[in-house]
């Protein structure tokens, strides 16, 4: 059949042709917006950023920055909240990247239920109720099969580093781990994973750049089965979430990993805490393509709060399972909703 797209493109093109034609005909064409002197700096004051801490674990950092949380906490009105109070709450949530829709929904809850135990408690419990999903991590497969954790995500979120850290944790627990260097696209990605394998003593299966990622994972499964390994951690190349071809490739990788000796017991979407509203569409696309079972929220040791995971869990029901809070192997923690919510409110 002839795609509607073609028809549309032609019609649009025709329209554009008309526009172009007219632009050429007119002697003076371009509309120049009047250029006032550009403000050198648009904004002079932004919200304060938290203090540095030598041990960037979540709990420690929380203690160091409580300014806006104090503002929220100081609102102790009972019953209904004033507009000013709601504005403060709104600001806190928006600044944490929770997003407009989720913020409005939370504000609506506050408006409806009031704050009988103080605003801080009310907003805290509203946020906590967003984190209702089961966040246990599955480590074992059915009898005779090898459990696989598959890692997906966009470019630069820290997939390879996360795998390295988890390999460290699992080998520390006495498990034998096989790493599958499925990122055959990015230059030197396998080398990066190799270094983690050397550090942690995990086994690694890798292939040349440009090799088929599915075959790398297939080989890793073979090796894991032959050696009786306890867990396979499979890396994939970072990919934008708005390209169906790349998502199809990912779906195929997942099918390969879930076949024969392998069983995908967890598919983690790795998400950078600095990511804004785009994270929601990322989660949607990866969920559809690779049946994401959990999120690893990385780079939480910076100034970003990663509030978008609230929206992701509320709307898509994907739980956050791990958080990354630093570059060392041990800087990967299990996600704790309470600590996270406190951190959001302290932004």
């Amino acid at each position: 059949m002839i795609a509607l797209w073609i028809i549309l493109a032609v019609v649009v093109l025709a329209a554009i042709a008309l526009v172009v034609l007219r632009r050429r005909r007119r002697s003076r064409v371009v509309f120049e917006p009047e250029r006032a002197a550009m403000p050198d700096v648009l904004v002079t004051s932004v919200a304060p950023r938290p203090e540095i801490d030598d041990n960037p674990s979540l709990d420690r950092r929380l203690a160091s920055s409580r300014s806006i949380f104090e503002r929220v906490r100081s609102i102790t009105s009972v019953g209904s909240l004033s507009q000013d109070q709601l504005d403060v709450v709104e600001e806190v949530l928006l600044r944490s990247d929770v997003g407009v829709a989720t913020t409005n929904a939370l504000l609506e809850e506050l408006r409806a239920h009031g704050a009988p135990d103080g605003v801080a408690t009310a907003i805290r419990s509203a946020l906590l109720s967003s984190f209702a999903a089961d966040r246990s991590v599955r480590t074992s497969a059915d009898d005779g099969r090898v459990p696989v954790w598959l890692f997906v995500g966009v470019n630069g979120v820290g997939k390879t580093t996360t795998i390295g850290k988890l390999a460290w944790h699992e080998t520390q627990d006495g498990k034998s781990v096989v790493l599958a260097a499925g990122d055959t696209f990015r230059a030197a990605a396998s080398d990066q994973l190799q270094l983690w394998a050397d550090r942690t003593g995990a086994d690694i299966v890798r292939a040349a750049e440009g090799a088929d990622p599915g075959s790398v994972i297939h080989d890793a499964l073979g090796r894991a089965q032959a050696r009786g390994a306890d867990l396979v951690l499979a890396d994939t190349a970072g990919r934008r979430a708005n390209n169906t071809n790349l998502l199809d490739e990912l779906a195929k990788i997942r099918r390969v990993a879930d076949r024969g000796p392998g069983q995908v017991v967890e598919t983690f979407m790795v998400l950078d805490a600095t990511t804004g509203q785009n994270a929601l569409s990322q989660a949607q696309e990866f969920l559809a393509a690779a049946e994401v079972t959990g999120i690893v929220l990385t780079k939480l040791d910076g100034t970003a709060r990663g509030g978008i995971v609230v929206a992701i869990e509320r709307e898509l029901g994907i739980p956050v399972k791990f958080v990354g809070v630093g570059e060392r192997a041990k800087d990967l923690l299990a996600f704790e909703p309470e600590a996270f919510v406190d951190s959001l409110l302290s932004a």
């Binding site: 329209a15 938290p50 990015r186």
Partner: protein, 496 residues
């Protein structure tokens, strides 16, 4: 997922067309929409506030132009303000009189510095320079290796050793000098702005190499944190500009505005894909349209201007509007589309695309064009000029000749007919304004498709309304609506 801001604003206050000025209440309602849209695009809250104040000022000061609805008036103000804030003064890259010109890149982990370094080197190379790369990221495993591989692809040398980042930077610049390279690009490790030790390190790299340009590399999907990052790096390093990466993602890229808002330095380069040449100077007006969700109609028009042959265009435009559009013209149009790039790329630039449509556009199969062409090529010249003469036996001949089916031929003819009607309407004043007419056409096409029980691409109706919303983008960037109307009369059917 998001309605485009421009279409939301258009829906507002359409009844107020006759009034010469927006009432305060109308304005605030419109600005509320702008606020949500900016926040959804990840513009930082304080930047949003400052921005809204500026827009308010702008709108209050002006009379509503006759040709614009109040909604469009606000859109125009927002767009102009965005362009002003994003663009204002562009950075002109000049080269040091005593080479090499040193460029330092800084940013968070995973922003895309290493890739940007290689892309920047490639850009300088295209400018006829001899770039040289220095890899000081000794922290991330295999980062230097990544830089070497990328540099190998573009034929640029890389310097690195395993001492320490500051020493590597110093030695790298010296090496470039020795080799007589005129641009040195220093890639650095990703660092968090609150990591004092690493921030001190990049300050010493900067002090040792005294870079002529220091660019912050920032990811287009960054959220509210963009301002903290930008400000912290600016305070440490005195940035000269911003490089934005991953603009090919589906994000609105408000982070760019946030970063620009706090450091007051221009966005210089934008990286729009994984390939090494998906990298170019940044266009503020296009970013503005993107944040507003208006699509990139200027890029479309420019692309058309670059590739279209003026004479042929004038001819076919006139024929289109007089209803004498033939299958030959259709073929010519298809060829134009090919010249302009892939069908998918073209669709992506169209205004008002929803997320679903964008992803559909990413997967448009250019092979469809080949099939259509094959069918038309299998027709005689007379058949192309007068499709009405194509009867059953001709149909089966055409189907055989083109290796397709009679159904496919039927479909093509039917759709061609539809298209012809749309174009006639467009030219014959049936539709008052071009984009509005386009919207109607899209709706017609959608209905036609649906009535045959075929799948309409998801979000198709949105295209119709989106096209309407393309109007203000055109009107703010070069083609005021009123003139378009007038232009429409310049080439009436009777001229032929």
């Amino acid at each position: 997922m998001f309605d485009s801001l421009s279409s939301r604003l258009e829906q507002l206050g359409t009844s107020l067309r006759s009034r010469g000025r927006l009432s305060d209440a109308d304005l605030e309602e419109a600005l509320g929409e702008v606020r949500s849209a900016l926040l959804e695009a990840d513009v930082e809250l304080s930047v949003v506030r400052a921005f809204l104040d500026a827009v308010r000022e702008r709108v209050r000061g002006e009379n509503v132009a006759q040709s614009l609805t109040p909604g469009q008036h606000v859109i125009k103000a927002v767009h102009d303000q965005l362009v002003e804030v994003l663009g204002g003064s562009a950075l002109k890259v000049t080269y040091a009189s005593k080479p090499p010109t040193v460029v330092l890149l800084a940013g968070l982990q995973g922003a895309g510095k290493t890739t940007a370094a290689a892309k920047l080197a490639s850009w300088f190379k295209q400018q006829g320079r001899q770039p040289f790369l220095v890899g000081t990221d000794l922290q991330r495993p295999a980062a230097v290796e990544q830089l070497r591989v990328l540099a190998g692809r573009i034929g640029v040398e890389v310097y690195s050793d395993t001492t320490n980042p500051v020493a590597v930077a110093r030695a790298g610049v010296a090496e470039a000098q020795r080799l007589g390279r005129d641009v040195v690009i220093i890639d650095t490790a990703g660092r968090l702005t609150i990591d004092e030790a690493l921030m001190a390190e990049i300050r010493s790299i900067s002090a040792e190499t005294s870079p002529h340009y220091t660019f912050l590399v920032i990811d287009a999907v960054t959220g509210q944190d963009a301002v903290h990052t930008a400000r912290a790096f600016h305070e440490s390093l005195e940035l000269s500009g911003i490089i934005v990466t991953k603009l090919d993602y589906d994000a609105r890229g408000g982070a760019v505005l946030s970063a620009r808002g706090v450091v007051g330095r221009p966005v210089v380069f934008a990286s729009t894909g994984e390939k090494l040449d998906d990298f170019d100077l940044f266009h503020p007006d296009r970013m503005a349209s993107r944040i507003l969700g208006m699509g990139d109609i200027m890029s479309l028009i420019e692309q058309a201007e670059r590739t279209m042959d003026a004479g042929a265009m004038a001819d076919s435009a006139q024929r289109m509007m007089s209803g004498a559009f033939t299958l030959d013209d259709f073929m010519a149009q298809l060829n134009q589309i090919r010249k302009m790039g892939s069908l998918g790329g073209l669709m992506r630039l169209m205004p008002g695309m929803t997320k679903e449509m964008r992803s559909a556009a990413n997967n448009v199969d250019d092979g469809e064009l080949d099939k259509v062409e094959a069918i038309i090529h299998s027709m005689t010249l007379r058949e192309r000029r007068e499709p009405t003469i194509i009867d059953g036996s001709r149909r089966s001949r055409i189907a055989k000749g083109s290796g397709s089916s009679v159904t496919a031929v039927n479909q093509l003819l039917k759709q061609f007919d539809q298209m012809k009607k749309m174009m006639k309407q467009m030219g014959g004043g049936g539709a008052p304004q071009l984009p509005g007419g386009m919207g109607k056409m899209a709706q017609m096409a959608a209905r036609a498709q649906a009535s045959r029980g075929e799948t309409v691409p998801p979000g198709f109706e949105a295209l119709a309304s989106g096209m309407k919303s393309g109007a203000p983008s055109a009107s703010t960037t070069g083609v005021p609506k009123g003139k378009k109307k007038k232009g429409g009369r310049v080439t009436p059917p009777k001229q032929r």
